[in-house]
């Protein structure tokens, strides 16, 4: 069975953090753009992680 450490960390992390994130999001009030900001942070993170990855690691 294949397991990737990053995938496991992501799944566990998403499961543990999701109630907190949803709560933070729901309490946004006027800051309706909160989910977009979080999304933008994830995009920046993806860019940063993928930046130095060699092509043959794909």
């Amino acid at each position: 069975m294949y397991t990737d450490r990053l995938l496991i960390i992501f799944i566990v992390g998403a499961y543990l953090l999701s109630p907190v994130i949803i709560e933070w999001w729901s309490e946004g009030g006027r800051a309706w753009y909160r989910p977009y900001m979080m999304w933008l942070v994830l995009i920046a993170l993806s860019y940063w992680i993928g930046r130095g990855r060699p092509a043959d690691r794909l």
Binding site: M1, Y2, D4, L6, L7, F10, S18, I22, W25, S26, G28, G29, R30, W32, Y33, P35, Y36, W39, L40, L42, I43, A44, L45, S46, Y47, G50, R53, P54, A55, D56, R57, L58
Partner: protein, 977 residues
Amino acid sequence: MFSFTQVFLVAVGYLLFLFLVAWITDRGFLPARLVRHPAVYVFSLGVYASAWAIYGSVGYAYHYGYNFLAYFLGISGVFMLAPILLAPILRLTSSYQLSSMADLFAFRYRSRLAGALTTLMMLAGMLPLLALQVKAVAESIQILTGEAHPGSLAFWFCLLITLFAILFGARHATNREKHEGLVVAIAVESLIKIVAFVLLTVLGLYSVFDGPAGLTAWLDANPDALARLYYPLQDGTWHSMILAFFVSAVVMPHMFHMAFSENLNPRALMTASWGLPLLLLIMALCIPVILWTATAAQVDGLPDYYALAVGSLSGSHGAMLAYIAGLAGASGMLIVAALALSSMALNHLVLPARTQRLDESLYRWLLWARRLLIAGVLALSYMFYVIAGDHHTLTELGVLSFVATLQFVPGLIGALFWPGANRMGLFAGLLTGFTMWVAALVLPIVMPHWQPTLLFDLLGISHQSTAHQWHHVAIASVVANGVVFVIFSLITPSSRAERNAAETCAVDSLRRTFRWELEADTVEDFVASLTEPLGPVTAEREVTLALRDLGQARSETRPYALRRLRDQLETNLSGLLGPSVSHRIVDKHLPYKPQAENESSEDIQFIESRLELYRDRLSGLAAELDSLRRFHRQTLLELPMGVISLGADGEIIGWNLAMEHLTGVTAQRTIGARLNTLPRPWNVVFHDFALGDTVRLPQVEVQLRGQSRWLSLHKSEVVGTLPGERAEGQVIVVEDITDLRALEAQLTHSERLASVGRLAAGVAHEIGNPVTAIACLAQNLDHDAGGDEVAQASQQIVEQTRRISRIVESLVTFSHSGGIPQPVQGPVSLRDTVNEAISLLQMDPDHRQQMFRNDCPADHLVRGDSQRLLQVFVNLLSNAADATQDNDPVTVRSERQEERLDVMIEDQGHGIPAELASSLFEPFVTSKPPGRGTGLGLALVYSIIEDHFGSIRAESPIADGHGTRFVITLPSYLDAG
């Protein structure tokens, strides 16, 4: 309001523009760098944002608040994890030319039925989403033109799209060619869609709110508008919805097609991991703004078409922007999905059912079949739209497709991550999932009176508005599907072919191919075998193409190379005919020889080559083990003795550098071949030895480039590490003992000389005394003799005794020369020594007229005894002078060879008789007539040179059948000390 003609012409103009983009790309007018730029790939993935994203999302946000983001965030999550989740699929699809989910399942589960079932279910599952596109465009035209009958608008739109889908994607018979034109056109379509969507949002924002500040003020004044967005987040459906969109995003045929089949640059997947989420973020940001703008402006109509209404607020150009955005989303999705679905139907429904021979007309036939299937898929979409009527919202149609495609996810996860998954599990899981989809979602939506109470109670769905609770059905059906899939996979056996394919697809394992032997022995056999199913022209073309892909020669006969050719042919035919038909053709017409599974060995060479490719991916213990493997491999490779590893079937799996050096045959040529196919003389030597019972051959003579080489061969069986395990092959160690043998011969020769020397000393001593006595007696006789006759006889006796004495003196000198080597002394100038030898020889009346030439440079010094070296040159020059006419010069020259000096003594004489060549330096060997030579001169020279740590050899003839050259190699003085 626009007229129908205006709106229709805009659609035709837009599609013509897209076709023009595709055409100029295919004709090569756009630079390759631009076409293969990652941004083009990212934009082409924007096909995901179909008309549902433009129109339906706003309606979804109106009803379900922030839950609409799940549609955008789900796929963003998949792409953010692209290196882990998508890269293995891309690797598989590009390596084995798999163009769809059905191809992947048919390949992985080795089942035509899996391909056919996937195709049918995918087609059924996608029809609502395709119909949604048709409905969205038809209704948007209806809104813009006020036409009463959207059905006829839909018909014309479908006809137009069919024409363009055929023009775009069905110009090639096979899926092997990447449709660069299509990729660029879809990328341009996404760009237009996004720009139009953002523009209409900004126009609406400024026309209603006068900018973002106005919007904020309006939101402050209308807190309900914000609350409606937040409220649905509380009902707990968010998790299941994002999961549903997360997993179904890639399974959808149009996304699979653009992400994997049309990927022009694998590296672009990394860019897409952040590029596509960014693109979708921009679109998702527009949706609440459009919703609030429409609410604030109190526009009429369905929330699904608020984008059109908001566009209309800023005039006709705004409405046209919304229409173009929707048209772009719908047409892009329809074209790509129709191409993908037609390809699946061709490979898994039409081609396997075709019983006729696939002959020369194959490519043309494929092209027409593909075109008809595209038309068929779009016709079905139109029919679904007509049957479904206008009772359903875009959301209802959309969720039907999303939940359907979700059912392929367990099979996909099994294919990539679980080698234990099998086809029975796949069938059982798919049927379970689809049954639930039909019973709990399709029928309640299409036929509202259908209410499966038991199922609804089980899933916790209230009996009203099933579509609103679709996420329950999605999660329940996919969980049931997955559980059944796992249970059936565990309790039913997998076939051998399926296990092999599972190894190929599994993310963490290498394909452990076995070395089964093929029935075909040559490339020509391949062509002949494939002629039956494909016809001569196609068979020849496919074999040539596969050889070119592999970079192999047509003369190739190595079993390893032929197996690779078979794999490549299967891969290439898979791109042409789909994996099911391709596998069937290759299995039937290029079979392996019957062989028990346990008689074959793993293809170590192939595993090694794959390990080399995957090196960067290894970490921890695996990386350590790989380093160890490399170390052992390098040790074997660099071993100064030749090593050949053979598999149990006699195939060469190892050929180290020493073997390359010894035989001049590279490892690349030999790996995968058999010993009897090696060039002469190696085929005979190694093949006989490998088959024979002898485990050691101490001396084998091999003729190589006219020279003898001596080899010592050893072999040993390679036995498995477990007790009772069979032999896995053998290893042959080859040692080149030519130099050792030469050294041995030299040693034997020296030993013989030493024995002769000891014998000579004894003989000289024993003969010397009686000869002296005879000489004295003969002299006395000469004094006392009266007659001339006696005096003459006695003088002859004295003369003969002198001759005996000379021979005895030579013997004594020779015997002394073989004694304990004298310590090597100071520098000796070759030039001076040779000059002295020449002077001495010219005192002899026989050699007075002889021409000598000394070409030794003055700085050529050797370390040694000048008197003994003088003796060497006197002997050699004297021999040369004896063999040469006076006017032919005898030449002495010397050359520096790194740390040594070569001295050449050359004459133009009659040369050395061939029969004496091998025993030239033996004592008493001479070519001179009796009385002229003792045969000890060269033996003496040999001894002296050996004492000086040098060597001597003779070459004769050197030119035109005459002449002799003695080459003496001596340590140079500078380096000797």
